[in-house]
């Protein structure tokens, strides 16, 4: 098993944190992982990229991910301004934060989850922004299929202690459950 993932988000949405927690969760499953940003001038609101690799063998390579197996989109408006599908392998997966199914051309498996609503419901909001990284993480685990929600929760709780950890865990769980495949 060797999966390469690219996450499209906006500066301030926590795409890198999500990738990082995904790796930690994979770790709890005895897997290996790697998470990294494309580090440029990351400005609040500006489109940003994060990457993750999950594997059952130690990962040696460090180069960029140019042909991901899966693409995650934190903000559907990004479809209009960046080429989110660039390099995505044929048959690859797409996970979008969206309240409703969206249409994507090409032979991909498309999933959606309403991460924003989950975050708002749980009052995961800072400065008017919904914190969608943990729900998106939960959804990612589900779509990947080989990372349990328990490991995701554990990873979240190593990152945030106390109340905050709890709420984020709930967010991830809700998303894990509510993510849907568009058929």
């Amino acid at each position: 098993m060797f999966v390469e993932i690219r996450i499209h988000g906006r500066g301030g949405q926590g795409a890198v944190t999500a990738a990082n927690l995904l790796v930690t969760a994979a770790l709890f499953e005895g897997k290996y992982g790697q998470a990294f940003p494309f580090f440029g001038a990351e400005r609040r609101g500006a489109p940003v990229l994060a990457f993750a690799r999950i594997s059952d063998k130690p990962i040696r390579i460090h180069s960029e991910i140019k042909e991901p197996d899966m693409v995650v989109v934190f903000d559907p408006s990004l479809f209009e301004i960046v080429d989110v599908l660039a390099g995505l392998k044929p048959g690859g997966k797409i996970l979008v934060n969206s309240p409703e199914p969206i249409e994507v051309k090409g032979s991909y498996e498309v999933y959606y989850v309403d991460a924003t609503r989950i975050a708002l419901e749980l009052k995961l909001v800072v400065a008017g922004w919904a914190l969608i990284n943990t729900p998106m993480l939960g959804a990612m685990a589900k779509v990947l299929g080989n990372i349990s929600i328990d490991s995701v929760v554990k990873a979240i709780k190593t990152n945030w202690s106390g109340k905050l950890g709890e709420i984020n865990a709930v967010a991830a769980e809700r998303a894990f459950k509510s993510v849907r495949k568009i058929t």
Binding site: R10, A41, R44, G45, A46, S77, E80, I81, W129
Partner: protein, 90 residues
């Protein structure tokens, strides 16, 4: 690369003044400033303070260039008559 500045066949670490040095920054916006011209008193404070010079003065008053407006909200904040609304993009 073909865009890089070359002088006498040398590729130099130079750049020239230009719009969109970081692309169309309108895409960064999550909130959008919308001017209610009925309220506007043409004080030009929004024009003065907009950090990104995306408000222009025209015959009809101030105009926001949404291609580049980053949606920071400074204009709305400084408007003395609250003529600028700040609405979510989606």
């Amino acid at each position: 690369m073909s865009d890089l500045i070359k002088i006498k066949d040398n590729i130099l670490p130079l750049s020239v003044t230009s719009e969109a040095a970081m692309g169309k920054t309108g895409s960064w916006r999550t909130f959008k400033p919308v001017i209610d011209y009925s309220k506007c008193i043409n004080c030009y404070l929004c024009w003065l303070y907009c950090p990104f010079s995306v408000i222009s003065k025209s015959e009809e008053g101030v105009v926001i260039d949404y291609e580049y407006c980053k949606g920071c909200g400074v204009c709305a904040n400084v408007c003395p008559v609250k003529a600028i609304a700040f609405v979510p993009e989606r």
